[in-house]
């Protein structure tokens, strides 16, 4: 990295922290601190919701996913717009009219205190872990490729976020997310244009798509009913709707974003904005990954992208075996490049088809070579992480982008990490204050609860840094966050759906059903019964089914009425 990269990176991050702290310096009461004064406009809500969901993992892992597997991952987001409409129709009007600070607060008014506390605790567990991973994911990758100390990176990202989130609360999170999304959009757009510019003169965008298509990278839609296939149109539409409904409707890190809206209309517009932009945005990020694939058709790439895994194998008795694979890679790349250059100049359709089929064959050979490299790495170090998806894009950035752009793209990655972490800490602090602390320690002044919120946000920030410091690299970081979410979300969504739509079911049945369901879902995940997206559907379905059966069999106990009558908000 050159001086200019450092200036851009540090300048962007410091600006965000100082701007966020400055813009939110006057928080008088809990409403100001936790709902940002309830004066956000729809575009602020929309950008804030998008920034919360798009973490650093999105920008590191997604292009790498497209590089290896093509655009199919976009199907994961197909259910999101449907969920946005349901949230606008049902969730937002209820939360808005009840004037709640957290989603779980509503459950006490509908069921009882223990159901509210249970869902709040489920949220705190899963989101507390996810916040740690949100910090850890970019740290492990940046430390591997840049040689920065992992611990310092974890602490650095965590502390920067804590500064403005603790001091400014929800408003600081929202205003900084607008700047962060600006940096993210600008950085990704410039990266895309630069990649296109780096392709040979004969290769225009259409030819680049033809090259990608020939290797199956543009196979966006999979209409098969294969239950074991993770990303299909059906798993995206059904599982994706349930996951998005749970995430945006019941996860406080998202609910808090739209509860800061000036009016119900602004909240709904913010969510519609997200429903309109999310699929194209994810498609675009994946397309950047596909263009990186095309770029490497004309330029040399490593046989494996994870530098620490490569170092392991180079310092082992398998170094010679790995070196021979690298030699094979050089030969193969030369053959691919040669064919690609011929292809870019040919106009005859028959010749084009013939060349594309030959190139696709060579790319298959290259994929097989990369698999063999993984086997060699595993032989050298059985514990090594051989999934290198998360390293593809950062390798491209550091080795190919011009000075200045490297700093900007690192600012994109760190901004995304900060924006997601800020929402998570903000929500963790709010839920601890409103659903656990304020519910049990009543009758104190506004100032007291604002101070309590700040302390709890700080505490969760420290916990997130600790989780990040002890986390180990999972198969795929973006999946890890979604898997943790899917284990808990379906159950919580089911409780909310019962609350909204099945008046017949009372608190005792819901509480017991929720405990049983959580145990069942953890078991399903443990034995790997189904792809993780379906855990959302299963969780919601099982909790609703058990609660209805229990209510029918057991009926109302006298204290059901007593507990709910005793509700004090």
């Amino acid at each position: 990295m050159q001086h200019l990269d450092w200036y851009i990176l540090i300048g962007a991050l410091l600006f965000i922290v100082l701007y966020g702290t400055y813009k939110s310096r006057s928080n008088k009461d809990v409403k100001d601190y936790l709902k940002g004064g309830s004066d956000s406009r729809w575009w602020t809500i929309g950008l804030s919701v998008m920034a919360t969901q798009a973490s650093a993992i999105t920008f590191l892992s997604t292009p790498g996913q497209a590089f290896h597997s093509g655009l199919g991952f976009v199907q994961f987001y197909f259910g999101l717009p449907i969920a946005m409409v349901i949230i606008c129709l049902v969730f937002i009007p209820i939360y808005h009219r009840l004037k709640v600070f957290t989603a779980y607060e509503y459950l006490e008014t509908r069921f009882d205190l223990k159901t509210r506390t249970l869902t709040a605790i489920l949220f705190l567990i899963q989101r507390g872990l996810a916040a740690g991973i949100t910090i850890f994911a970019p740290s492990i990758i940046l430390s591997a490729v840049l040689g920065w100390d992992l611990m310092y990176l974890n602490i650095g990202i965590g502390v920067l976020v804590i500064i403005y989130t603790v001091s400014g609360g929800t408003k600081a999170v929202s205003v900084t997310q607008k700047q962060q999304m600006g940096i993210i959009f600008l950085g990704m757009l410039l990266a895309f244009l630069i990649i296109l510019n780096y392709l040979p003169l004969d290769v225009n965008f259409t030819k680049a798509l033809e090259i990608a298509g020939a290797s199956g990278k543009l196979d966006v839609l999979d209409f098969s009913f294969d239950f074991n296939n993770k990303y299909t149109v059906w798993s995206g539409l059904i599982g994706g709707t349930f996951l998005a409904l749970s995430y945006f409707g019941t996860d406080q890190s998202q609910v808090q974003r739209y509860l800061s809206g000036r009016s119900m209309k602004e909240m709904q517009m913010g969510m519609i904005f997200n429903g309109l932009l999310k699929v194209p945005m994810q498609f675009f990020i994946l397309l950047v990954g596909v263009m990186v694939f095309v770029f490497y058709q004309f330029n040399s790439s490593p046989v494996h992208f994870n530098p620490s895994a490569v170092e392991d194998v180079r310092n082992s008795p398998f170094a010679a075996e790995y070196a021979s694979l690298e030699d094979e890679q050089i030969t193969l790349e030369a053959a691919i490049k040669k064919k690609q250059i011929v292809f870019s100049r040919v106009e005859n359709q028959t010749e084009k088809k013939q060349l594309l089929s030959e190139i696709a064959g060579l790319n298959k050979e290259q994929e097989a070579l990369r698999e063999r490299a993984k086997v060699t790495i595993k032989k050298a170090n059985p514990d090594a992480e051989t999934n290198d998806k998360d390293y593809v894009f950062i390798h491209f950035i550091l080795n190919n982008l011009p000075t200045g752009m490297i700093g900007l793209l690192l600012a994109v990655i760190l901004s995304a990490a900060m924006s997601s972490t800020a929402s998570e800490l903000n929500a963790l602090g709010s839920t601890t204050t409103i659903d656990l602390y304020k519910r049990n320690v009543r009758g104190r002044g506004e100032k007291h609860y604002v101070h309590a919120s700040k302390w709890f946000t700080l505490l969760w920030g420290i916990i997130a840094i600790c989780v990040a410091s002890v986390a180990n690299l999972f198969e795929n970081l973006i999946e890890l966050v979604n898997i943790i979410g899917s284990i808990f979300y379906g159950n919580v969504l089911g409780i909310f759906l019962l609350a909204f739509f099945i008046k017949y079911v009372k608190s005792r049945a819901v509480f017991i059903a929720a405990i049983i369901t959580q145990a069942i879902i953890v078991y399903f995940w443990w034995i790997d019964l189904m792809p993780y997206l379906w855990l959302n559907v299963a969780g919601a379905g099982i909790v609703i089914g058990i609660a209805v059966i229990l209510q029918t069999v057991v009926g109302n106990k006298p204290d059901d009425t007593l507990e709910t009558a005793d509700v004090v908000k």
């Binding site: 409409v85 009007p93 209820i94 008014t109 298509g213 966006v220 909204f500 509700v567």
Partner: protein, 44 residues
């Protein structure tokens, strides 16, 4: 559940107002998927 809150939920449920922007966002996404289908078929 307190009566007031129950009333609020009932009011919301009775007033599920379908707005044109909900239709617009669903149609827009259906168009995105169709365009992806065309892209896939054209370059496959």
């Amino acid at each position: 559940m307190t009566e007031e809150n129950e009333n609020i939920i009932e009011v919301v449920k009775q007033k599920f107002i379908w707005k044109w922007k909900f239709t617009a966002v669903l149609i827009a996404n259906a168009v995105y998927i169709y365009l992806m289908y065309l892209l896939m078929n054209h370059f496959a």
